[in-house]
């Protein structure tokens, strides 16, 4: 039988957390108690085995994927945290950063390439505001994009509490997009050519339903220069 106190001493000794005066006491106890010595030896064996397991190197692309997912804005990171719930990095990646000094009231999500397998905007909005999902409705407005750098469409969905701007684009070169809404600007620079070709889909979720009749401005920039500008009209859903 080993006293509880000395069991604790043995573990602490193996962990290097036993004070010197307790170590002396433990030594005396071990001399007189073979069962305690057995426990100590077994514990040392376990620790030796555990400590002999090498650390695994992180996957080579982990760092890049983290930094890709978290585009830091030029200023004010963290002071106005994004409100996304990133529960499945397989599909959902924060893909945007917003200019400093603005009220952050929007988040952007990468939906994936494959429309069939990926998320749709109703899933996105439903997850963000389960009490008020954007119905699987038709967009309230859509603009077509036909540029040398990008082709596809941008659609606006609207519910009582949010607007979702969906980008469905085949992008030929890296683009920056500026979305102007409610006197604010949201920028994101995550648009680029898809590795396997085809369209890329992103959703920008804007807080609030917006005022009917107002507009959401969309600017496309390449190399810092504006290449296209258009507007989505915030109308009530049919």
């Amino acid at each position: 039988m080993i006293e509880e106190k000395y069991i604790e001493f043995i573990h602490a000794d193996v962990d290097g957390e036993l004070p010197d005066h307790d170590r002396a006491e433990l030594s005396r106890y071990l001399l007189a108690n073979p069962e305690a010595r057995t426990l100590r030896d077994e514990l040392r064996q376990v620790c030796t085995v555990l400590d002999g397991v090498p650390s695994a190197e992180p996957p080579p692309g982990l760092r890049a994927s983290i930094l890709e997912a978290v585009h830091l804005p030029a200023a004010r990171v963290g002071s106005t945290p994004l409100r996304a719930s990133v529960s499945s990095p397989h599909r959902w990646r924060l893909a945007a950063a917003f200019a400093g000094g603005l009220l952050v009231s929007a988040i952007a999500l990468q939906l994936g390439q494959d429309r069939e397998a990926g998320l749709d905007v109703s899933q996105v909005a439903g997850t963000l505001a389960s009490q008020d999902p954007v119905a699987r409705s038709e967009p309230v407005d859509t603009i077509q994009v036909s540029l040398d750098q990008a082709k596809g469409k941008v659609s606006l969905f609207r519910s009582a509490t949010m607007r979702v701007v969906e980008f469905d684009l085949a992008v030929q070169q890296p683009l920056e997009v500026v979305v102007m809404h409610d006197g604010q600007e949201a920028r994101f620079s995550g648009l680029g050519p898809a590795v396997s070709g085809g369209n890329q889909r992103y959703a920008l979720v804007l807080e609030g339903a917006g005022r009917a009749g107002s507009a959401i401005g969309i600017r496309f920039l390449a190399g810092g220069a504006e290449i296209h500008r258009d507007e989505l009209e915030v109308t009530a859903p049919e």
Binding site: I7, A75, G78
Partner: protein, 179 residues
């Protein structure tokens, strides 16, 4: 651990310093990935957890309380995320002898050493609450006090849980022929 530097990096991150965040990623991607890997065994899940951890760190930098050690905070997120993954699996943990998972996970990613495989198998045979303290103590090399801060437990409870975890692990290792 360089606690002051971590705090400074967090401050700089809050000020919009991208490089400061990159430094935090460089500093913690390996321990975070290893913690998740030891909790989950599956390297793909561990990778996803690691990414989620840093996204959450980024999102909640404003909420971070500097009176706590940064590494305690990030390791706590890592363990919580790992346990979330375990919960989502909706099945019992793999038991000893789950060769398929061993081949995909431990041997490929942790290394081909048999000891590593057996240790991982033994780890997976004990409950996550015990696995957590083993991971924090032996793979992240935290003190009792640090473990208490990560898990939000008093030091006495940490010790008790660690002692039990080691006993269970010893039995599992003996059963697997490692000891």
């Amino acid at each position: 651990m360089n606690e002051d530097s971590d705090g400074l990096l967090v401050q700089r991150c809050r000020g919009g310093d991208r490089r400061a965040f990159e430094t935090l990623v460089d500093r913690y991607q390996k321990p975070v990935f290893n913690a998740a890997l030891r909790m989950l065994r599956n390297p793909e899940d561990a990778r996803d957890v690691a990414q989620t951890v840093f996204l959450k760190v980024f999102e909640h930098l404003a909420d971070y309380d500097p009176k706590f050690r940064f590494y305690s905070w990030i390791y706590r997120i890592a363990l919580n995320e790992s346990i979330n993954v375990l919960d989502r699996r909706h099945r019992h943990e793999p038991i000893a002898g789950d060769e398929v998972d061993d081949r995909r996970g431990a041997e490929d990613e942790v290394g081909s050493m048999q000891t590593g495989v057996r240790v991982q198998r033994a780890l997976m045979s004990i409950k996550p609450e015990y696995r957590s303290v083993i991971v924090l103590k032996h793979f992240l090399e935290l003190s009792y006090d640090d473990i208490g801060q990560v898990l939000g437990l008093p030091e006495k409870t940490v010790k008790s849980r660690l002692f039990t975890a080691r006993q269970l692990l010893k039995d599992a290792l003996q059963a697997g022929g490692t000891l």
